[in-house]
């Protein structure tokens, strides 16, 4: 049975000649899980908002949206609130009330459910989502992952027939994201809830989708089952940018396989099988040519025996924390939520003070810090006004040219996409001529394309002699950009090594590429490494 039938849908925002959505057609069957992908600004959010009447933006709409045989416009407010659930991107701003139980009951209160039903549903949802032990807590004190689960749970209390999610995991850490996606899969599989989800990170959800829709500039450029989507994409454009965002198994397959009709490996397990069946493994390891000898380099920052806590009676966040950053390197600090990563860099940048221990920053080193929320760097209404606050006005043009943000200078910071604001923030810091840059979660909420851009920018900065410290959850990004990595656990760095050794040696805390090639190749931590090794080894059964 069809839940949604979208016919020739076009949409343009008021005062804009450009079409945000252009002639979109697709159907959603009961029990489907539809994955919507595309670069930032391709119209994903706009499309999803069209499907939820309360959120539909002002503008010119053409075409029809049929929900269960009825035009969406004819649905009463109450019906559409109840039957179509919507979860947005930002976990914080969706929360309305101060207590977890109140947030859970909020939707049901609005629709005047009776008290016994509310009591039952809140309890049921809290148990299912593992929120029972925070049931009485303030919503402000939850972690990002818990907040997003709460948002999902709160929407599900109304028992919607379809659930629409707009990049729900982009603002939360990978482990919570995985948990979130698993719950979603469970809801779809066991409870038959139809799901439409847009995502940047396709690794987790791709093979589970019943249909993948790729949007490009407001048009559907591919719409097919996961195993056929690659073929369809390549038919239109051999080097479609979205290919770089696909799961690593698919990207490996895409490069190495000439015959595109074979069974497509959709997840890590199938990718491993694909490698083992098709390639030799005589050469296990890539010969490292460009290993930098770090020991000879001078340290620019050293931290010794740092102890830090937020509250007098609280527990120590950092315990006997030691770190030494060498001149000109890119160092990535990894670790789980709440392990103290952000705290550590805030101490280095001087925002927080340790109560014990010594932070030594060598002479002439200018340390600048890019916070987790880059918007906090901007306090004016235009990007350019903020840039002009710095002493170095002459450098504005040059810097914005290097980072490619000239066209954004007259915009309001809040109108920029995740990737754009990250670049603008970086530009602002560069105006202060930093010799050490600290970036806190620079890849949070940005797409694969913006990540690649950021990677290139950071590598170029390194060539100019800037030392860079990155705090991140994103193993793929850390792996592709950093020279050395450290794993923070329980208040200090428990493992530190050059990037290849670090990820190659970790069992679980590693990249998808390494998970896929584990046991077959050694230390192949990047997608590129696998490609190189496969090409070196050659195909099995080759003539």
């Amino acid at each position: 049975m069809e839940v949604f039938n979208i016919k020739n849908l076009s949409f343009s925002y008021p005062k804009s000649s450009e079409k945000a959505l252009d002639n979109i057609n697709f159907t959603v069957e009961q029990g489907d899980l539809i994955l919507l992908c595309g670069e930032s600004g391709s119209g994903k959010s706009t499309l999803l908002k069209m499907l939820k009447p309360q959120l539909t933006p002002e503008g010119n709409i053409a075409g029809e949206i049929i929900f269960k045989g009825k035009n969406l416009k004819e649905l009463s407010k109450k019906e559409s609130a109840e039957k179509i659930g919507f979860v947005m991107q930002n976990p914080d701003s969706q929360i309305v009330t101060d207590k977890v139980y109140h947030e859970l009951s909020f939707a049901m209160e609005n629709l005047a459910y009776d008290k016994e039903k509310i009591r039952l549903k809140t309890g049921e949802m809290a148990s299912f989502f593992g929120l029972s032990n925070v049931f009485n807590n303030d919503t402000n004190n939850l972690s990002g992952g818990q907040k997003q689960l709460l948002n999902l749970a709160s929407v599900l209390t109304l028992q919607p027939e379809i659930l629409i999610l707009d990049e729900p995991t982009s603002q939360i850490d990978p482990l919570s994201a995985q948990n979130f996606i698993n719950i979603l899969k469970n809801l779809n599989r066991d409870f038959g809830i139809t799901v439409i989800i847009s995502e940047h990170n396709l690794e987790e959800v791709f093979d589970f989708a019943s249909k993948v829709i790729v949007l490009e500039k407001g048009k559907v450029c591919a719409c097919n089952t996961p195993d056929k989507i690659l073929k369809e994409l390549k038919r239109n454009n051999e080097n479609h940018p979205i290919i770089n965002a696909l799961p690593v198994s698919l990207r490996v397959y895409n490069i190495l396989n000439k015959n595109i009709d074979d069974k497509v490996p959709l997840n890590i397990k199938e990718g491993r099988k694909f490698l083992q069946e098709n390639f030799n493994a005589d050469i296990k390891k890539l010969h490292e040519t460009d290993l930098i000898d770090n020991k000879k380099k001078n340290a620019v920052i050293t931290l010794k025996n740092i102890y830090f806590r937020y509250e007098k009676n609280g527990s120590d966040i950092l315990k006997d924390f030691n770190l030494s950053i060498k001149k000109g390197e890119i160092y990535a600090v990894l670790g789980a939520n709440g392990s103290g990563k952000s705290t550590a860099v805030k101490i280095i940048s001087g925002i927080l003070k340790a109560y014990h221990g010594k932070v030594k920053i060598y002479k002439n080193e200018n340390v600048m810090y890019l916070p987790q929320d880059p918007l906090t760097l901007f306090i004016k209404d235009k990007i350019i006004d903020d840039f002009e606050l710095s002493d170095n006005k002459g450098k504005i043009n040059e810097t914005s040219h290097i980072l490619g943000i000239e066209h954004l200078l007259n915009k309001h910071p809040y109108d920029l996409s995740g990737g754009e604001i990250q670049k603008a923030a970086l530009a602002k810091l560069l105006l202060f001529n930093p010799s050490v840059l600290i970036l806190d979660e620079p890849t949070k909420g940005i797409d694969a394309f913006a990540k690649d851009e950021l990677k290139i920018i950071l590598k170029n900065l390194q060539k100019e002699g800037v030392t860079i410290i990155i705090v991140t959850h994103d193993t793929e990004f850390a792996c592709s950009v950093s020279d050395r990595c450290g794993l923070l656990f329980n208040g200090n760095i428990i493992a530190e090594n050059s990037t290849k050794e670090f990820f190659g040696g970790n069992g679980f805390y590693t990249t998808s590429a390494n998970k896929m090639s584990r046991g077959f190749y050694e230390n192949a931590v990047l997608f590129e490494d696998i490609i190189k090794l496969c090409n070196l080894n050659g195909e099995k059964n080759a003539e």
């Binding site: 939820k52 309360q54 959120l55 407010k77 109450k78 609130a81 109840e82 659930g85 947005m88 930002n90 914080d92 701003s93 969706q94 929360i95 309305v96 009330t97 101060d98 207590k99 139980y101 109140h102 009951s105 909020f106 939707a107 049901m108 209160e109 609005n110 629709l111 005047a112 459910y113 009776d114 008290k115 509310i118 009591r119 809140t122 303030d138 919503t139 402000n140 948002n151 709160s154 929407v155 109304l158 940048s349 001087g350 925002i351 600048m368 810090y369 916070p371 929320d373 918007l375 906090t376 760097l377 901007f378 306090i379 004016k380 209404d381 606050l389 710095s390 002493d391 809040y414 202060f432």
Partner: protein
């Protein structure tokens, strides 16, 4: 979890109104003394005895100050003790001052108890009975204010690292940036509210409270006790006149009943807590 806070919010609220109505407006030292000891006992049970005594000691200078200030400004009364700049420092004014001080102390202590027992959930529930909208706004404010100050501090700490010419300008800029941020997120919040069916019509106000038999018994007791207390008060049988001379009218059995009833009312929560505490300890020892 304190046993007394398990009662229904409406009952608890009525209890506090009853106690406050006597402690705040009736200037009779007997009532005030009963009320003071009652609140002291209750607070001891809610917190520890040690912290209660410490907080009591902290208020002593304040009490003394009020006691002395009253005769300095009010020169009524028939018994002058001594003169300051030809102004009489009278015994009556001194006693009235001490009664005032005791009254303020009573109110402070009962408010301390009220704060512990009456959390935001109960307040919201009560407001929700009157108007669900006010209740929701209150709840949203409780969510918004900590977020706002947290974000403000974040922006400020980051901006302080940038070289800025004036501190005042920096604060103003940061404040306006945080306001902008709040507006931006409130658009999302509004979306999230309407997506979940806000303002589609009738609403229910969900509170996790049920009116139990215990609540009913407590409610009846409170009403009975407060009526017994007020019979003497309304009949002026427990009236105290301070100026020009102190007249303490403690006439008859009705005043006695009134004092006893008020004492029972004030000691009720403290004794109830102790009883529940013992019950728990006893049940543990049986296991």
């Amino acid at each position: 979890m304190k046993a007394f806070s398990n009662f229904h919010p409406v009952v608890i609220f009525i209890y506090f109104i009853a106690v406050f109505s006597v402690s705040m407006f009736i200037q009779n030292p007997v009532y005030l003394f009963i009320s003071m000891t009652g609140s002291f006992l209750f607070l001891c049970v809610l917190n520890t005895i040690k912290t209660t005594i410490i907080s009591f000691l902290k208020y002593i200078p304040f009490t003394v100050l009020i006691t002395i200030l009253n005769p300095l400004f009010s020169h009524n009364g028939a018994t002058p003790l001594f003169f300051i700049n030809d102004n009489a420092f009278t015994l009556e004014a001194l006693i009235y001052g001490s009664v005032l001080a005791l009254m303020i102390l009573c109110v402070i202590f009962w408010f301390k108890c009220f704060n512990i027992i009456f959390n935001s959930e109960k307040i919201l529930f009560l407001f929700g009975k009157i108007s669900p909208k006010i209740s929701l706004i209150f709840s949203m404010a409780l969510h918004f204010i900590p977020n706002f100050s947290k974000y403000f501090n974040e922006v400020l700490s980051v901006q302080k690292k940038m070289k800025s010419n004036s501190k005042l300008k920096l604060y103003i800029n940061c404040f306006s940036a945080v306001i902008t941020h709040s507006f931006e997120t409130s658009v999302d919040t509004a979306d999230s509210m309407s997506a979940r069916g806000h303002s589609t019509g009738k609403v229910t106000n969900f509170g996790r409270f049920r009116f139990k038999t215990n609540d009913f018994i407590l409610l009846i007791s409170i009403i009975t006790l407060i009526i017994l207390t007020y019979i003497a008060i309304v009949a002026d049988n427990t009236k105290v006149v301070y100026y020009p001379v102190i007249i303490f009218s403690n006439s008859g059995i009705s005043a006695f009943i009134s004092y006893i009833s008020f004492a029972v009312l004030c000691f009720l929560p403290g004794i109830y807590e102790i009883k529940e505490d013992l019950k728990w300890k006893y049940s543990i020892s049986k296991i």
